[in-house]
Symmetry: C2
Subunit: 693 residues, 2 copies
Amino acid sequence: MAYVFPDLSRLIAPQSVAVIGASDRAHSVGCEALKNLSQHSDFTGEIYPINPKRDTILGLKAYPDMASLPKGDVDVAMVCVPADRVLGALRDAADAGTHFAVVFTSGFAETGEEGKLIEAEMHAISQTSGMRIYGPNVPGLSNINRRIGLTFSPVFKDDKMGGKIGLVTQGGGLGRSFIQASERNIGIGLWASTGNESDLQLGDFVHYMAQDPDISVIAVLAESLRDGPRFLAAAQAAAKAGKPIIAMKVGQSEYGVKATQSHTAAMAGSAAVTSALFRQHGIVEVNDIDELIDTAALFVRAGIRKRNGICVYSFSGGTGALAADMVGAAGLTLSDFAPQTVTALKALAPSYAAVENPVDLTTAVFTVEDMNRNCLELVAKDPDTDIVLLPTPANYGGITDLSAADVIALSGGDTLFVPVWMAGYDAKGYRALNEAGVNPFHSLGKAAKAMKRLIWRGNWQAGDTPDDRVVAALPKGALDEAAAKLFLDGAGIATPRGGVATNASEAVEQADAIGYPVVLKALVPGLLHKTEAGGVAIGLADAAAVRTAWSAMTAQLATQEITLERGLIEQMVAQTGTECVIGLHDDPAFGPVLSFGLGGIFVEAIGDVTYRSVPIGPAEAARMIDDIRGHALLGPLRGRKGADKAALADVLVAVSKLGTQGQIAELDLNPVLAGPDRVVALDALIVRAENEE
Amino acid sequence: MAYVFPDLSRLIAPQSVAVIGASDRAHSVGCEALKNLSQHSDFTGEIYPINPKRDTILGLKAYPDMASLPKGDVDVAMVCVPADRVLGALRDAADAGTHFAVVFTSGFAETGEEGKLIEAEMHAISQTSGMRIYGPNVPGLSNINRRIGLTFSPVFKDDKMGGKIGLVTQGGGLGRSFIQASERNIGIGLWASTGNESDLQLGDFVHYMAQDPDISVIAVLAESLRDGPRFLAAAQAAAKAGKPIIAMKVGQSEYGVKATQSHTAAMAGSAAVTSALFRQHGIVEVNDIDELIDTAALFVRAGIRKRNGICVYSFSGGTGALAADMVGAAGLTLSDFAPQTVTALKALAPSYAAVENPVDLTTAVFTVEDMNRNCLELVAKDPDTDIVLLPTPANYGGITDLSAADVIALSGGDTLFVPVWMAGYDAKGYRALNEAGVNPFHSLGKAAKAMKRLIWRGNWQAGDTPDDRVVAALPKGALDEAAAKLFLDGAGIATPRGGVATNASEAVEQADAIGYPVVLKALVPGLLHKTEAGGVAIGLADAAAVRTAWSAMTAQLATQEITLERGLIEQMVAQTGTECVIGLHDDPAFGPVLSFGLGGIFVEAIGDVTYRSVPIGPAEAARMIDDIRGHALLGPLRGRKGADKAALADVLVAVSKLGTQGQIAELDLNPVLAGPDRVVALDALIVRAENEE
C-alpha cells in the first residue's frame, strides 16, 4: 500500500498562528501558549489572539473569532478552550481556511466512549475541510532548532539547545525526560508529541523528520501505533533518507497495555509482533528511556555504516576484562589486532601493559606525556578495529581528565569512540566528554547494547519483495480443508495429494488413485477440532481399512449428532522433517501479519514464533526462518538431514503474497512438515475476511 | 563438607602493623601505604616501618627487619617490596610470628608459570607458619567504618563515608567504581580486594562480613571463584545471619573468561553453572556494576522480607503507564487496591486523576498543600501494597522538589518506596532523596530488575537436604553400562529390567526371563557411541530376533575389529514420556555439580539445562525441575499425561547423593524417560573419579 503523507511544513514552521482562547490569566493554557509563542520564541510571523472579551492580550491585538482575522488562511490555530468548546473552535478554524489546528485540551477519548465520539467528529471536520488536526490532549510542538514553541509548557522557555535528534512521543512527561538530556549536551531539534491522534499521527511526524535536513536521527516513544502500516511506511522513508529510527514501544506486558489504553485511548498491540516488524523495517528498538536517549545520541555521532570489530581500551585490568566480557555476552566481536598494531603498541606502551585486545595499559600510561594518546591512536588505526570501547571505572582526577582529553582529541575519525563513565560524575573528564559531544554511557551493559544496535543497524538491509505472481481469488462457497488446500496448491504451497469422497466407495476410489497408506479426514462445516471429535483416521493401509475407517468415523460422528457427508482422502506423508507453523492474522496494529514458528509442543511450550509484515521476498523469508530461537532444529542435527530451507522460504513468500489481497482474515498451516526433500502443509485453515463473504 | 573459616579480626582491625619496605619516597607503594595508615587512618595501634637503610620514616622509628621488632607477633605485615624480594619478606614475617601479611606487589601468577610457582611457595609459607596471606596483587584493604587503611591507594584519604555495605572484589578499579557511589551517599563500610588469592579468598571475607555487626549487605564482584564450595559455604553463613549477598560474576562470555584468566590468573567457571548455584544458595546475581551498587543500596534500606504487590505512583500518565509496563515485563505484580484505598484516594485526589493502580494524580496534586503527601500515605497504607514505585520522568522544579520531600517524609515505614529519577539530575529533589538515603534509580528498567531481585530474595528459602540414605561404594572392576545400571538400581534410580549375556543362547535366556520385546546393547570397554557403531538393536520381538541380532551385531562389530564378548539384554521400555538428561560433572569452580535438562534434540537446540550443588532434597529438586525453560513439556500437554514429577525429583535427589562421595568423576543418564507412571534411566554412563581407581 502506498501512503501519501501530509506536508507539515506550515505546522512545524508556521508564518501565522491564531491562539483560540488566548488569555492573560497567568498559568492558563491560553496564556502560556500565547506567551511561549510571542515572548519565548523567535517567531517573526503574525500572531492572532482570539478572545471575544478582550481587545488586546499580552500587548497583542485580539480578535473576537477566526472569521474576523485580517488574513483568512492562517497556518496554525492553537485551540486552548475547554473541552466542551473545542468542536466549535475547530469548526470556526476550518471554516476560516486554517491549515492546521493544535488542540491542547484533554478530556476526550482517554475519558470514555463520549470522548471517542467527539474525537470522531474532530476527524470528520479534518476530512471535510482539509484542515489537519494535531491533538487533542497534546502538550505541544516544539521546534527547538528554529525556536518556535506551539506549546503551553511553562518550561519551554528553557528548551534552547536544539540538535540533530527529532523526537516523536505521544505523552509529555516522557518527552520531557528526553529533553532534559540537554544537561549532558544531548540536543533535540524538534519534538512532536501527538497525544490522542484524532488526525495526525506518529508516522506523519516521522515522515516529516525523514525529509527535514536539520534532523539526522529520529527517536520515537510510542505508547500505541494506531496505524502500524502508516508508521512502517514512514520508517521506510526514513531508511531511504539514511536516517536511523530509534524506537521504544510501551506495551511489553498486560499492565502496560491496560495502562496505555487508559492513557491515550489506543490499543498497544502485541510486543512480539511489534519487535519483529521493527527489526524487519530497520527500526532500532530499545527497552528504556535512557537507552532511547543514549542510543539516539550515539547514532547522531556514528551515523549508519558497517562496523564489526571492537577494541576494549582501558587502564584498569578488571574493568577491561569486564568490558570484554560484556562485548562477548552481547554477541559482539573483539577486533583481531594486526601484527603491526601489536608491535607498535609494544614499542610504545609500559612494559607490563597488556597490548592484546582487551588493551590494559595500566595507569602508568599517563606518566609519560602523550603516551596514552599515541597508544589510543594506534588502536584506532588498527585495520580490524571499527569501534574503541573506553571504560572508565571511576573518576581518578588527573588520570581520567587526561584520558578524556585524549578521547576528545582523536574523536571524529573513521573509528568510533564509545566512552563509558561508570562512577564519579563530579569530574572534569566526564564533563569534558559531554561538552565535546562524545557522551559517555553510564554502564557497560548499556554501552554494549547500544553498540549491538549500532552494528545491527549498520548491517541491516531492507527486505526484498516477492516476484509479481498473481494471487488467485479465494473460491466461492465453503472454505473447508479440501477447498483451502486446493487453493493453496494453486498458490504454490504444497499439500498432500488428496481428493474428496461422499461415501466409502468413493473414498476407496480416491485412495486407490492416490496410493496407500492414506488418511481420512471428515469435512464438516464448523468442526475445528477434528482429531478430538474422531474425525481423523491415519495410516489406512488398504481399501478394507478405508471402508472400515469410513464406517467407524460415521458412527463416531453420529454420537455427536454430526453426519459424515464428505471426507478428504489424502496421501499419508511419511513423518520425516520438522513440524512448523505458518500463519497470517489480521493484527490490530499492523493489519495482515505473517507468522512462522516451530510446531507441535515446541511452540506451545516456549512460544518461539516470529512475524513479518507482508509481502516478503525469499531473502527476508530466509531471515525470518533464522529469527526463531529453535532454528537449529531445522538444520542437520544428530545425523538427521536438515529441512529444505529454500522450499520453506518459498512457502513463506507465497503465504505472504496471500496476505496482501485483503481476502483472508486468518490462515493457519499447522503443521507444515519441513523435510529435506519437500515442505508440505499437512493441515490448513483459511478464514475469509468479513468484507469478502 | 564443613568449612572452617579464619578469624580475620586482627587483619580487619589490627592493633599492630609492620610496613615491610616502608619508604619516604613520594608515590612509592611503601610510602603511600605508610602514609595511609599513619596519617589518613584513625589508627591508634603500633606502626613499625621496616627498612634497613633508615632510622626513621615519615617521623616514625624504623626497624631493619621483622626480627628486630620490640613485640614479636604483630597483627599485620604490609609487604611493599619488589616481586623478587616478596618471598623473603614473607618468610621473615612468618618467622617473627606475624598473623597476617598483606602483599601489594604484583607480577606473580598473572604473568605466567614462574609467577604461579612463587605463589605456590607463598601458600606453602602460610600453611607451614599459620600466617595468613592477603594477596599478592591487591590494592589494599579499607576498613572505612573504623578508618583503617591497609592500602597504597593515593585516594584512600577521601574514602570517609562508611556504611552498611561490605564490598569484596578481586581487582581495584571496579571496587573504586563502587566506592565512588559515595557521591550519591551510598556508603561502603569495609572493602576487601583479594587480588591473586594465594591464600585468603573472596569467601573468607564474605564469611567475615556475615559476622560483622557493622555490615548488613555484602556486595561481591568476582572475576573468578577459586574455591566455589568455600564461597557457597560463606554464602550459607551470610544467609543464616540474615544478610543478603549481591554478586556479580565476570565470565559471561569466552572473551571475559579469557581476559579474566590473564588478569587474575584463575578460571572464571561456567556462567550457567554459577548463576544456577547462586540462585540455589540465595545469592542475588546482578549483571552490571551499576546494578551491583544500586541493588546493594536498596537491600540496605529494604532488608529481607516477603513482598509482592507494587503500586506505581506518578504525576505523569505516560510515565506511570511505562512503569506499570516494566513491572509486568519483569514478571512482577501490581497491587490490587483495597476498596477503602480507592475510595479514600477518590475523595482526596484531583477529579481527573487515575486512582487505580498505576496511580496518575497529574501535576494538579501539587497545587493543594499536602495533597500529594496524603495521597502517597494512602497508597502506602494499602494492605496489598508492599512497594511504591515512584517514577519521576524529569526535573519539574518545585513539583519534583515537593514530591521528593513527601517521599522522604514517609520513608522508613513498612512499605518500601522506590523512587526513579529518569533525567534532570541537577535538581534539588534528586539531591534531597540521595541525602536522605532513599537513593533513586536512574532507569525504570533497572528499578524493575532490582525490585524483582528484592522480591525473589525475600521469598527465597534455603534448599532442603536429602534423607541420610547410605550411598554404596562403586563396584570394583569395569564400569560398563550393565554395572552402572546395577549400581544405579541399588541407589534407587530405576533402570530397565536387564541382564548380561556372553553369547546368543544366554541372550535368549535373559530375554525369555525379562519378557519381549527386548533391546540388545553391546558391552565393549571404551565403546562410547554404541548406536553409531552398530552396537544397539531395539525392538527384538522374540527369541529368533534376539539370535539374529546377536549374530548381526557380532559381524558388524567385527568389521571394526571389535569382538562382542558381552551384551546387555534389556526390557524395551514403551516410549511414553519426556526424555530428560540428568548428570553429575566435576566443575572446575564448584566441584561435583548436578545437572538437569530436557533431552533429545531439545537440549541440543536450545541448551535448556540447570544445575545444583550437591546434595539436594526433594523440595530443591522440584525447584530444579521448574527452573528449566521448557518445563511445561513435563506437564500435561495436548491431552497427554504429564510426567511423574515427584519420581523425577526422587531421581535427582538420588543422583545428587551419589555426587557427595567423591567416587564419581562424571555421570550421565541420557536419556531418562520421565513418564506419567515411572521414571527410568534408559542409558547410563559413569566415569570413576581418578583417585578411586
